[in-house]
Amino acid sequence: MNWISIGDISEIPLRGARCVKTPQGKIAVFRTAENEVFAIEDHCPHKGGPLSQGIVHAKAVTCPLHNWVISLETGKALGADEGEVRTIPVRNEDGALYIALESLLMAAE
């Protein structure tokens, strides 16, 4: 597992998100009202909407395209919808954020 630095927690607004670009697609990094950080694929399981642009509430985000609600913890759609996105491990060291990417992805380096 490679931990890659992506920046400081203060760069993400509370109840907000930023995206991280990788060769295999974008990753959405979220900061909740409780200061927890989560990362998931920036791609709604429904129609591929950019989840990083959604409204963040509790440990979930509402997709901006069609209002699916995705759990930040599990990556699964909540409520009546069914679908799932990949979650990405995040480490928070006193505000310095790292995400873990699989070796396959890193091979591009």
Binding site: C19, T32, G49, P50, I55, T62
Partner: protein
């Protein structure tokens, strides 16, 4: 093997028949329907509420398009069958479609009776039968002129009440001495006439129409006695005739209706008939309950169960005019072998009459208070001997057995087999047991599962009482719809409490109003943010994280995650410099799509989020600001060229539109606000379907509001006429502020206006100068904080984080 079932007609009876059939034998038939009307199956009983504006067409649809698809039904909309070939077993439509059948069901319904007088074919003479008739009446009602309804029966009175509530001056002509004489005795007919006249409807009884007069279109009616009554619309509602022509031409036995046996079988073994066109046991029917009974019987026979048989039963009549309570059942003519019990309460406008024979109820007329109708119906149906309760019978069920009981107890005391919903034949036991077994908690659920209260809706009160009885306090029929699952409070309560408690931040609202979630959801947060922006313009700090992405980045997100950008073009006016700047931006950023919008400006589509600030910087240099095409706020003010150029222009509509847009841009509103100014009543700027519109006339400015041209289509209402441009601006601004302060988030102005009432809005804005000025001042104050161009703010660095990735990783260095 599946057989081919073809149905001619798509009304309520065949619709119900198919529901039963799919339940009993889902795969037995391949179904094809020919509907002469170009639409799906809707609840014809509810046309009167649509006419009066209490319901929308969408609310009365019984089977949406999805239902036909789900059941694999081929529905030919707008196809009228012109021929049945019994030998070949085929039917042919007026568009030339021929279908073969194994079983044919004729459900052609009925046609309205047209009285044979001169002029009955003039333009402006219509009947009252289907949605097209209602739409014709609504169109005619816009003139606010005089209308005549011929026929003082159920349908005629509902039409008259609907037209009157739409602002027409209505006269009802009735040939008999009292209204609804087939359902009411003269005393109740008299009370009804008084109630109808109190609504401003004139009633002329014993009125024989001699001729409908007019040249090309209706101008009035001449009566036998020589009186002439002017009108621009004549509605004939004098009765219906079974529609039997098609069956007759095919050689099927026809009397008044298409003759069927009690299994709905016609004289041809492969053909059935049901609904208003069918005659069974010498009777034809027009009320829905017996028609639904026919549907049940027909479905049984189609599924192979030949034991079902149609049995005649009396159906109670109710009038669907809000505020008039009327119930009639059975036989109420006088007779030597009959007795009657009558109760009158003149001050309360109540009249009740029971007709008895051998100590049994055979007829009931209730006027003014009809709650006991179901109970009397039950006593009559069961032929209960009423000797023991004769003294108190007329006072109703609550008075039986000593002390008066509460209304709940009356419903509780009904036996399980008492009929609650007459239209659909649903009894009490079925409703209460379904509530329990399916765990139903809302009226809509009960309607969906039992059909009770799902047709004419007049038993809704009873059904709600049953729900309260079954569910206890957990059912509260008047409960407001909560904003979302985070709170029990509705939008109106939240707005009121924000003001009353002086709540000035989202956490304060959630804490004080006891939100059930830690930080709300995507439904309540944008709503709260708007309410706080509106109520505390100087003190509240806008919470961008509670705004939808479009309002956060000031552009419109597209399906592929790119954005579109629409710069403001004041009043739809532009020039060569602006166009050149747009062209340069398109070239520089390789913008793939440039589109003219419906709001008279230009949309640039397919821009990457990261490019937005640079695009805005270039547009800003040419003087462009954000068009806020993404906002729940002021969008555009469309204009026509007005008196500066147009031969017909009466005022400077372009100038006024620009002035309004420059005054109001930047303001947040509950939902989007689109406006237009037309320079003359030809209305080239299409101002009469806008949220707010202005029609310029010689004498000033007619201000319109509450139009819609989206999901709903609705012409505007007139707010009033003002003399000067200054007045127009003040009235429009005050109206907008009233809407900003009162509406629920995402509620367009036409929905808000319908809720609070047009008269109240006119009163406050046109009639009360003090209120108007105060609204105006509050709007002006809030604009001090709202009129900041969001694009130039972001070009200068605000919210930088929104427009670039946090990090870019995993790419080979060389590629950078």
């Amino acid at each position: 093997m599946t057989e081919k079932l073809v149905i001619i007609g798509n009304g309520m009876a065949p619709g119900r028949m198919l529901e039963h059939l799919f339940e009993k034998a889902p795969d037995q038939y391949q179904v094809t329907i020919f509907n002469a009307e170009p639409r799906v199956n809707y609840d014809r009983i509810m046309l009167s509420p649509v006419l009066s504006g209490e319901k929308e067409y969408e609310e009365i649809i019984i089977h949406g398009d999805g239902w036909y698809i789900k059941h694999g039904i081929t529905l030919y909309k707008g196809h009228k069958i012109i021929k049945i070939d019994r030998a070949a077993k085929t039917v042919t439509s007026d568009h030339g479609v021929t279908e073969s059948y194994d079983k044919l069901v004729i459900a052609t319904g009925s046609v309205p009776f047209i009285i044979p007088v001169p002029g009955n074919d003039l333009r402006g003479v219509i009947t009252y039968r289907d949605l097209d008739d209602v739409q014709a009446m609504l169109l005619a009602a816009q003139s606010r002129e005089k209308a005549i309804v011929i026929g003082g029966g159920l349908l005629g009175l509902e039409a008259a009440a609907g037209l009157a509530s739409r602002g027409m001056d209505v006269t009802v002509l009735h040939v008999m001495p009292t209204l609804m004489e087939r359902q009411l005795d003269p005393a109740a007919g008299y009370l009804l006439q008084k109630a109808v006249e109190e609504r401003g409807i004139k009633v002329i009884t014993k009125a024989n129409t001699k001729a409908i007069i007019g040249n090309g279109k209706v101008e009035g009616i001449e009566l036998d006695d020589g009186r002439i009554i002017p009108a621009t619309l004549v509605v004939m509602a004098v009765g219906i005739r079974p529609s039997v022509g098609l069956a007759k031409d095919a050689g099927i036995a026809v009397n008044r209706g298409i003759v069927v046996d009690d299994g709905m079988q016609t004289s041809d073994g492969s053909i059935m008939a049901l609904g208003e066109c069918a005659e069974v046991g010498g009777m034809v029917y027009g009320l829905v309950a017996p028609l639904y009974e026919m549907a049940r019987v027909a479905a049984s026979h189609l599924s192979g169960d030949r034991s079902a048989a149609f049995v005649h039963s009396d159906t109670p009549t109710k009038l669907k005019v809000t505020g008039i309570e009327l119930f009639s059942l059975g036989d109420f003519a006088d007779g030597d072998d009959r007795e009657e019990i009558v109760l009158r309460d003149a001050s309360a406008g109540v009249y009740k009459r029971l007709v008895l024979k051998d100590n049994k109820i055979i007829g009931t007329v209730l006027y003014g208070e009809t709650a006991d109708g179901a109970w009397f119906n039950d006593l009559k149906k069961k032929q209960t001997d009423i000797k023991e309760m004769r003294e108190t019978l007329i006072f109703g069920q609550a008075y039986q057995g000593g002390s008066p009981l509460d209304p709940m107890a009356a419903v509780a005391a009904l036996p399980d087999d008492a009929e609650i919903c007459g239209c659909n034949g649903v009894c009490k036991g079925k409703i209460t047991s379904t509530i329990t077994s399916k765990g139903l908690t809302s009226l809509d659920d009960v309607r969906a599962h039992t059909k009770a209260s799902a047709s004419c809706g007049s038993c809704t009160g009873l059904v709600e009482k049953l729900m309260t009885l079954t569910l206890g306090d957990s059912y509260n029929p008047t409960a407001v719809q909560p904003m979302c699952t985070c709170t029990e409070l509705g939008h109106d309560d939240v707005r009121r409490l924000i003001k009353a408690k002086g709540l000035k931040s989202i956490p304060a609202v959630m804490q004080e109003l006891e939100w059930k979630t830690s930080c709300g959801c995507a439904k309540c947060r944008p709503a709260l943010n708007y309410y706080l922006v509106c109520d505390w313009p100087d003190e509240y700090a806008d919470d961008y994280q509670s705004r939808f992405i479009n309002e956060r980045v000031h552009a419109n997100i597209q399906k592929d995650g790119t954005y579109s950008v629409v710069p403001r073009m004041w009043g739809g006016v532009t020039n060569s410099n602006e166009l050149r700047a747009i062209a340069d931006v398109v070239d520089k950023f390789e913008i793939p799509m440039v589109k003219v919008t419906g709001g008279q400006r230009i949309d640039l589509l397919g821009i990457e989020k990261e490019d937005l600030p640079a695009v805005w910087a270039d547009l800003g240099k040419a003087g462009f600001v954000s068009g806020q095409a993404y906002a729940k706020g002021l969008r555009t003010v469309k204009t026509c060229v007005g008196s500066d150029w147009c031969r017909f222009g009466t005022q400077d509509s372009t100038g006024l539109g620009i002035r309004i847009e420059k005054f109001m841009w930047g303001s947040w509103t509950p939902a989007k606000l689109k406006m237009a100014v037309s320079g003359c009543p030809r209305n080239c700027a299409e101002a009469t379907c806008k949220d707010i519109g202005v029609i310029c006339v010689d004498s000033g400015f007619e201000i319109h509001f509450a139009g819609a041209a989206g999901l709903d289509i609705k012409g505007t209402e007139v707010l009033g006429l003002v003399k000067t441009e200054d007045d127009a601006l003040e009235h429009i601004v005050a109206l907008t502020q009233m809407y900003r302060e009162q509406a629920r988030y995402l509620e367009r102005i036409y929905k808000w206006a319908k809720r609070v009432g047009l008269d109240e809005i006119r009163h406050q804005i046109m009639g009360d100068a003090g209120k108007r000025k105060a609204y105006y001042e509050r709007f002006v104050f809030s604009q001090k904080f709202a009129q900041v161009d969001p694009w130039s703010e972001r070009v200068s660095g605000k919210d930088k984080h929104e427009f670039k990735p946090m990090a870019t990783i995993g790419y080979p260095q060389a590629a950078e």
